[in-house]
């Protein structure tokens, strides 16, 4: 048995310790927002947060995540209202939508570390996430908007 803490909830799963965290989250914990795209850390569809850091769950062994804090897209906010989620909706970013769980999880770390990213900062931070529909221009725009929303949220709070 491996104990995982996903989105502040504990799960005891019967997994091979070598199983990638991706498949443990999807098939054993049952949260399917995290996506399989390439299996070799090339596309970023599987990005989750491990103790707050963005990791590629497709190449992270589930044993490495034992007892650590895992956050998936389902736990990014309670009401789909993280500044990035609000911005993604405002800018109509997704097309097919398959990559956007990973895009949002990568962007969330960027925005936490750099509350005012430039285009170049965004390009650097998001270059690990492939969007085959090509929504990159909107991703850039939405991250800028989310940065604005985040600032407003802080002044309000």
């Amino acid at each position: 048995m491996i104990s995982l803490n996903v989105n502040d909830q504990n799960f005891d799963i019967d997994a091979d310790p070598d199983m990638p965290l991706l498949w443990a989250i999807r098939d054993l914990v049952g949260l399917t927002g995290t996506k399989y795209g390439c299996g070799v850390a090339q596309c970023g569809a599987c990005v989750v947060h491990l103790n707050g850091e963005a990791v590629r769950s497709c190449i992270t062994k589930v044993s490495r995540a034992r007892g650590q804090k895992i956050r998936t897209i389902e736990g990014l906010s309670k009401n789909n209202d993280h500044p990035l989620q609000l911005a993604w909706n405002e800018v109509n970013v997704p097309q097919c939508g398959y990559c956007h769980s990973g895009q949002l999880m990568s962007a969330a770390v960027l925005l936490r570390e750099n509350p005012n990213p430039s285009d170049a900062d965004i390009d650097q931070a998001m270059a690990g996430n492939i969007c085959r529909c090509g929504t990159y221009l909107r991703i850039r725009k939405a991250i800028h908007l989310a940065a604005e929303l985040q600032k407003k949220g802080e002044t309000k709070g």
Partner: protein
């Protein structure tokens, strides 16, 4: 047969109490019924006494936005807001007929008027019903927000309270459509209901399906195309805990049938690990020597063949053009994979003579159709015994027009008596095809003594799409798909000839977003540009001079000229390129602006796109589609394609078959023309003009002409 599936559909629609269904007959006439089971039409609107209004969307959602745009056509005329209605996705039910597919940028362009007609007929009958109840003239009433209102008295009745009366009135055959100036939804930017689901992980794609008791499967296939199964040894696989079953299964793609070895077990991880222990011996049937280098040389040689004539306008052959006024060029494009980010997958459950599937497909109708190429026939089930649960599609781009992965999953599911989810790995998705084939183009043209472009010939040398699809393909005929658009451009050239030289290929080929226009536009519009320089003319003016008559192409070019400030000269080291392409899916043109740096690298400063639509449903969604098409075209133009060596696909995953990333995405500006003319497609037309516009811009900036895709964003000269 039809009755059964109708009842099935109604059960899933689940009406409570009195309800009316409104839809279209096969001939396109609006019809209404209280009892859909006995109605002979495709229902698109369901209004219930409770006030609940349901609109059915028959176009699978793959990111193109039809979940919103298709119902919007109905909602506009019905006078309901998009928030007021429940949108239900059809699942290949017989009631909806054969049109439940998404491809060819066709959803809106072929349904713009029919769907509005359904909505308008429904609204008219509801207004008539209210007028009758109130004892007033229908002309004194109007509809708004799902209610009918009597103008003078301000009396109001919601649609749900009108349906019983409406059911007694004959439905107008030719309802009056709204004046576009009164549109509340169409042409505006409206929210897509799927977007919130795609920002919090709740959108369900095929790969996310969970069915109780389900097992997982992978399939080992021959890496060499055209190989057959000789033997396999699963002893080591079957010793692994969690493995339930191993066995040979068939996959069908077009005319090709392949045998693979399915491994079924209790998790995807288990079966993919077990796959490494499977021993398979394939009979390569002589295909193990096939490679791209030799095949491309073969295509170059074939260019000398006369080929089959497609269009022959004027008299290209007998024209006397002096050699110094004759020009030739040869263009080449690579094989590419579709690479939707969601790998191929399907969950299937065989229950005796019944089949249920959960997947993401562009062709829902084919899952329950009765044709020889539909799924039921291919896997041996009666069409009425097949139930589809179509999910959001994690990218289509043409790949999911083919359901070889579904055939395969059903055959896997036949090996066990529980549901099985088959997942292709990214490597499977990269290597197994079907692929967009390469096209090589031999072009020649001649100017008459007065300097006018007089002759133009475009010869396409390529494998055949139809030959890949049909075992009985007639090789004496031109493959029209492989010749797409090249005889239909609006340029007024008096002598035009197109020819086709078919090349044998044993690898399955497919339509890829914008189909063959994605390669032929590069050759055709690149060569037009070359001719402009030969004629010592500005490439925009050269094109416009070939367009003396009014045409949509001319309109697009004039708009591009205006919005790009074409006449304003660019500084040294910068260049602009233009291209335009008209084809079955629609019409768009682009201008690319590039910088040629001292280190010989090229950067794209800006892309300006004009798309001609006739009418717009969702403005911002159109822009999103065009932006995405340009990114996809940039990848196809500048990233390595798919190659073959020793009979196998060389590239495996995104590390050796790279996609465009955010740091490479250029600035894109989209302009939409919508002047009420012919309604054209949105999803594909943004793609074909990009590669030629980029190559033309690079030439303008650097003097280097690229005639072979992919090209590096770097020049040698």
């Amino acid at each position: 047969m039809e009755e059964i599936s109708r009842r099935h559909f109604i059960k899933s629609a689940g009406t409570a109490g009195f309800a009316i269904w409104l839809g279209l007959s096969a001939k396109g006439n609006p019809l209404m019924a209280m009892d859909i089971a006995s109605a002979n039409f495709s229902p698109y609107i369901l209004i219930e006494a409770s006030g609940k209004i349901t609109i059915f969307n028959t176009k699978p959602e793959m990111g193109q936005g039809t979940l919103q745009s298709f119902p919007a056509l109905i909602a506009e005329e019905l006078e309901v807001s998009m928030d007021q209605v429940i949108i239900k996705q059809s699942n290949g039910e017989k009631a909806f007929g054969g049109g439940q597919s998404a491809g060819g940028s066709a959803s809106i362009r072929t349904n713009y008027l029919p769907m509005r007609k359904v909505g308008a007929a429904a609204k008219e009958v509801l207004i008539l019903a209210a007028a009758k109840i109130w004892g007033v003239d229908a002309a004194e009433c109007y509809a708004e927000n799902g209610t009918v209102i009597h103008r003078a008295s301000k009396k109001m009745l919601p649609y749900g309270k009108l349906i019983e009366e409406a059911s007694k009135i004959e439905l107008p055959k030719n309802p009056k459509l709204k004046d576009p100036k009164d549109f509340k939804i169409l042409g505006k930017t409206t929210k897509r209901q799927d977007i919130p689901l795609k920002t919090n992980g709740t959108a369900g794609f095929g790969i996310d399906v969970k069915v109780p008791g389900m097992l997982y499967a992978v399939v080992e296939r021959s890496p060499v195309f055209g190989a057959t199964l000789k033997s396999y040894d699963a002893t080591a696989v079957l010793k692994i805990a969690g493995i339930k079953k191993v066995g040979p299964i068939e996959r069908i793609v077009g005319k090709y049938k392949y045998t693979g070895i399915a491994i079924i077990g209790n998790s995807y991880w288990t079966v993919s690990q077990a796959r490494k222990k499977l021993k398979v011996v394939w009979e390569n049937n002589g295909h193990e020597t096939f490679n791209t280098v030799d095949y491309e040389n073969h295509l170059r040689k074939l260019a000398a063949e006369p080929g089959i004539t497609g269009k022959n306008i004027g008299s290209v052959e007998t024209m006397q053009i002096s050699p110094e006024n004759t020009f030739e060029a040869f263009y080449e494009t690579p094989v590419v994979a579709h690479h939707p980010l969601e790998p191929m997958n399907c969950t299937a459950h065989v229950k005796g003579d019944k089949l249920e599937i959960w997947t993401s497909t562009q062709v829902a109708s084919a899952m329950t159709g009765s044709g020889p190429n539909d799924l039921p026939k291919q896997v041996g089930f009666a069409p009425e015994n097949v139930k589809l649960n179509n999910q959001f599609i994690g990218g289509g781009f043409g790949r999911r027009l083919y359901f070889d992965y579904i055939v395969e999953a059903v055959n896997v599911a036949k090996l066990v008596d529980v549901p099985v989810k088959l997942i292709w790995s990214r490597e499977d998705t990269t290597t197994q095809g079907p692929f967009r084939p390469m096209t090589f183009s031999k072009l020649s043209a001649g100017f008459s003594t007065d300097g006018k472009l007089s002759t133009f010939q475009h010869k396409v040398i390529s494998p055949s799409y139809f030959e890949s699809m049909q075992a009985n393909y007639d090789r004496t005929k031109v493959d029209t798909i492989m010749m797409e658009g090249i005889a239909e451009q609006a340029y007024e050239i008096p002598n035009l000839k197109t020819t086709y030289v078919r090349a044998d290929l044993h690898i399955p080929v497919a339509a890829w977003r914008s189909v063959t226009s994605s390669t032929l536009a590069f050759a055709h519009e690149g060569f037009i540009d070359e001719l402009a320089y030969k004629a010592k003319k500005d490439p925009m003016e050269f094109r416009l001079e070939l367009l003396s008559k009014p045409s949509d192409t001319k309109k697009v070019l004039l708009k591009l000229k205006e919005v790009s400030n074409w006449e304003q000269k660019l500084p040294q080291g910068k260049g602009r390129g233009v291209a335009v392409w008209d084809f079955f899916a629609g019409l768009a043109g682009q201008i690319v602006e590039v910088s040629h740096h001292p280190d010989k690298t090229i950067s794209i400063d800006k892309v300006i796109a004009v798309i001609d639509l006739g009418a717009v449903v969702n403005e911002d969604n159109v822009k999103n589609q065009v932006e995405g098409a340009i990114i996809m075209a940039l990848g196809a133009a500048t990233k390595p394609g798919i190659t073959f060596k020793d009979g196998k696909t060389v590239e495996q995953n995104f590390y050796d078959n790279p996609m465009v990333r955010i740091n490479e995405a250029p600035v894109v500006e989209v302009h939409i023309l919508a002047d009420g003319g012919k309604v054209k497609g949105v999803g594909e037309p943004g793609l074909p003009p990009f590669a030629p516009a980029l190559a033309n811009a690079i030439f303008a900036a650097s003097g280097t002409r690229f005639r072979k895709m992919p090209f590096d964003l770097k020049t040698e000269g």
